[in-house]
Structures are given as structure tokens and as C-alpha cells.
């Protein structure tokens, strides 16, 4: 393995190229599939293998911009990116991030920042994860009941629909998402997610993706694609700001992007073969694993926490890859069937 070691001049360490490619691949697959940046995997993974923390964060942010371009291109061609919605949200997110930063400073002055933020982070992850699982289970139960009754499943009235019915001008149609709502809705959701992301010190993908689904009412894949569009913009700025601070190891970022670009492509195409609710369920599992990792870190099990997140990232990527391969095989079989004179709709 020594043969694959390269010198990273800015981080000032020797690092294995295969490891960079592997971390990139895993985070690329998860990112393309869930619409998240993946800092929760990359930063601890790089750090545990000897990357100094400031460079791990900067290098992660730098490769995130490039990786999101790959995913956004593919999601865009699939028709999953609602640019109008993304732009509307990012304005609110920007203001929200600033407000969140002020709130953090206020808590700091009160000496509460550490304890409050830690508890909030764990509580927030648990809340979001639990709600997604609850939503998935109720969806499955509704479908089963409807199947038994021989009818199509009844759609219940959701909180999202109530929000969409608020007729506060200007009303805007988001064609890709298939929704019409007040412009204030995405602006406010952006603002709230911005505050939460800023206070908790996370990039935002973990928060924005479920917010796009449950508060704005986007189809799951559009939420994934639109979130990646936002990450593409913020990630590019992140690359600049950390680069200017000298906290990016460009050589490491380039190698990692090579793996991440392949992973992002695979993760994005996998979305095509999976129903939205299944993406949500896997996302909830990911959130629980991230939550477990944070809890372990709080209990001073730093190494175990990083190992857990690395193993979890690998396992989730493998699940996504299996879904992708299964989907491709089914699609090819269906096409062969069509050529042979019959057509069977691929399920999944």
C-alpha cells in the first residue's frame, strides 16, 4: 500500500491515494442519492487517517463544489432540479445563516453555546429521523389498507398542503416541483433551515432535503436535485473562502473529487430506480447513524465515532450500489422483453 502514498504539500502529510478515492466514492454515492454534501462522512474519515482537522474541513468543502456539479448536471437532465425554488430558498437561507450566527454569539456570551448546541443537534437529528420513519410507515400502512380494500390509497391532508394554501402574494408556480405557493413559503423555509444549519454548525443538506419535502411539498427526487443545486453554489463559495484561508489541500481535493465524481454519478442514477419513500427511509437511517456518531463523540469515544461513520457511509453506499445494479438489470431485461414483442413495466 506504500506505493500508493502521495505527499500532500499543504496538509504536510503523506496520504494514501486509494483511501482518498474510496472516501470520495462513498460520499459521492450518498451525496448524489440523498442530496447532501456529506461533510459528516468526509471530515471524520479524513481526520481519523491523520488529516489535520482544519484541512479536512477545507478539503471536504472544496471537493463538495466539484462533486455537486456532477450530481446537479445529472439530476438536471433527469428533470429533478427546480432552479426557481432553489434560488428562492437560497435568499432566505443566507439571511437565516446570518441570524443563526448572531444567535450562536449570543449563546456564547451567556456561556451556553456548547451545552445547548450539542443537545439541540442530537434532538434535532432524532426528531427529523423519527418523523421520516413515521411518515414512511404510515404511507406503507395506507397502501396496504388500500390494497386490501381494492382501492387506490387515500392521500391524507398534510401540513404541507395547509402551508401551500396560504394565499399571501406573490403566488409563484414552481413547475418542476409541481406546486404553486406563496413566495414567502420557500423564503421562510430557507430562513428557518438557514438558522438551524448555522446554529448547529452543519452544511444544510441534512436539513434542507427534508424541509423541501415536508414543508414545501417537493417530490423526493426534486428535493434531492434542488438541494444539490444549492450545495453547488454554496460549495463553490466554500472552496474559495477556505482556499483563501489556506486550509485546502488541492492535491487531496483533486484525488477525492475523482472518486466522488464517479460516486455522484452512480448515486444520482440510482435515484431513477427507487421510489421517493424508499429514499426517505434510507435517509432516516443515515440520520440515525449520524446521530449515534455525535452521541459517541460527546461520550469521548472520538475514534469509535469516526469509525462508525466511515463504516456507516460504506454500508449505505453499498446498499445504493445494489439498488442501482438491480435497477439497471431490470431495465435492460425490460428492454429486451420489449424487443421480443412484449413489455413489462419494471417495478421498484
Amino acid at each position: 500500500m506504500q506505493a500508493f502514498n502521495i505527499y500532500l504539500p499543504i496538509a504536510g502529510i503523506e496520504f494514501n491515494v486509494l483511501l482518498l478515492l474510496f472516501i470520495g466514492l462513498a460520499v459521492g454515492i450518498c451525496g448524489g442519492f440523498f442530496g447532501v454534501g456529506g461533510a459528516w462522512i468526509v471530515t471524520p474519515a479524513l481526520n481519523i487517517f491523520g488529516f489535520p482537522m482544519p484541512y479536512a474541513i477545507g478539503t471536504d468543502l472544496a471537493h463538495m463544489g466539484g462533486k455537486s456539479i456532477v450530481s446537479t448536471i445529472r439530476h438536471g437532465k433527469f428533470g429533478n432540479v427546480d432552479i426557481k425554488l432553489g434560488v428562492s430558498m437560497i435568499a432566505g437561507t443566507t439571511v437565516g445563516m446570518e441570524l443563526g450566527a448572531s444567535l450562536v454569539m449570543y449563546l456564547e456570551r451567556l456561556g451556553l453555546v456548547e451545552s445547548v448546541i450539542r443537545k439541540l443537534y442530537v434532538a434535532f437529528l432524532l426528531l427529523v429521523g423519527s418523523y421520516v420513519v413515521y411518515d414512511y410507515l404510515s404511507h406503507v400502512l395506507r397502501r396496504r389498507r388500500a390494497a386490501r380494500a381494492g382501492a387506490s390509497p387515500l392521500e391524507r391532508r398534510t401540513f404541507t398542503q395547509k402551508l401551500q394554501r396560504l394565499r399571501i402574494p406573490p403566488m409563484v408556480e414552481f413547475r418542476v416541483s409541481g406546486i404553486t405557493c406563496s413566495l414567502w413559503l420557500p423564503l421562510l423555509v430557507g430562513l428557518v433551515t438557514g438558522v438551524v444549519a448555522s446554529v448547529l454548525g452543519v452544511g444544510g443538506g441534512f436539513i434542507r432535503m427534508p424541509a423541501l419535502i415536508y414543508l414545501i411539498g417537493c417530490p423526493t427526487v426534486v428535493a434531492v436535485g434542488t438541494d444539490l443545486f444549492e450545495i453547488m453554489i454554496t460549495g463553490s463559495y466554500g472552496a474559495l473562502t477556505y482556499g483563501v484561508k489556506g486550509r485546502v489541500d488541492l492535491i487531496a481535493a483533486m484525488w477525492m473529487l475523482l472518486g466522488a465524481a464517479a460516486g455522484a454519478q452512480l448515486g444520482t442514477v440510482a435515484v431513477k430506480y427507487v421510489r421517493g419513500y424508499f429514499i426517505r427511509l434510507l435517509f432516516a437511517m443515515t440520520i440515525f447513524l449520524a446521530c449515534a456518531s455525535v452521541l459517541m463523540k460527546q461520550l469521548e469515544f472520538q475514534v469509535a465515532s469516526s469509525i462508525l461513520i466511515l463504516v456507516a457511509g460504506t454500508a449505505i453506499s453499498l446498499v445504493i450500489l445494489i439498488l442501482l445494479v438491480r435497477g439497471i438489470l431490470k431495465e435492460r431485461a425490460a428492454r429486451r422483453g420489449l424487443q421480443d414483442g412484449f413489455w413489462r413495466e419494471p417495478d421498484g
Binding site: 504539500p9 433527469f78 432540479v81 444544510g204 454519478q265
Partner: protein
């Protein structure tokens, strides 16, 4: 020139529309996001200098020299490299996955 730039961005996002102009404006706005998200204000402590004396000529040495000479230039180099590499690899892997016989057209949004 501006139209071309917009068209390029539209291609990247796989969409069309003037709203992309807003996206460009918001790229600047998003600066606040990252500052708040962990970037913080520019560092006041000096950044370490890479020892390039014993490095063999090549990309690594060149990158280290840019890093030592001008951090703003280095920052721009990071953005440009990531954007170009991302776009090139996206194009390449898109072709490769198309060769597997996958239909890469618009998909139905199934929940």
C-alpha cells in the same frame, strides 16, 4: 458574453431560464452562508509556508508555489480546478453510464 455564461450555467443545471441570472447573484449572496457555517472571518494568524526546495518539479510543486505566493490566487485556483474537474468528470461519467444501456432521459417522479 453574459448570455453565453447563462447558457453554460443552464447546461450545468440541465435547465433553461433567466432565473439563472439570479443564481449568479446568489452565488455572491451565499458567501454569508459559508461564513456563518464555519468559514468565519479571514484568519489573522499566518498560514504555514510549504517547503518546495526539495520537491520534484511537477503539479504538486506548482500548486505549493502558488499557495506560498498568493492565497487569493490559490483560492481562485481551487474553485477553478474543482469546477473544471467536476464538469469534465461529470461529462465523462455521464457518457460511461450511458454506455451501460441506461436510459438517461427525464424520469417520472414516483413517490
Amino acid at each position: 458574453m453574459a448570455r453565453r455564461l447563462l447558457r453554460g450555467l443552464a447546461w450545468v443545471a440541465g435547465c433553461r431560464g433567466r432565473k439563472l441570472l439570479l443564481a449568479l447573484v446568489l452565488l455572491g449572496l451565499s458567501g454569508g452562508n459559508l461564513m456563518a457555517a464555519g468559514g468565519g472571518q479571514p484568519v489573522t494568524q499566518p498560514v504555514h509556508v510549504v517547503d518546495t526546495e526539495e520537491m520534484a518539479p511537477g503539479v504538486t510543486k506548482w500548486v505549493a508555489e502558488v499557495y506560498n505566493d498568493n492565497l487569493w490566487l490559490f483560492g481562485l485556483l481551487v474553485v477553478a480546478t474543482m469546477a473544471l474537474e467536476g464538469a469534465a468528470l461529470g461529462f465523462l461519467f455521464d457518457r460511461l453510464i450511458g454506455m451501460l444501456g441506461v436510459n438517461l432521459g427525464k424520469i417520472e417522479h414516483r413517490e
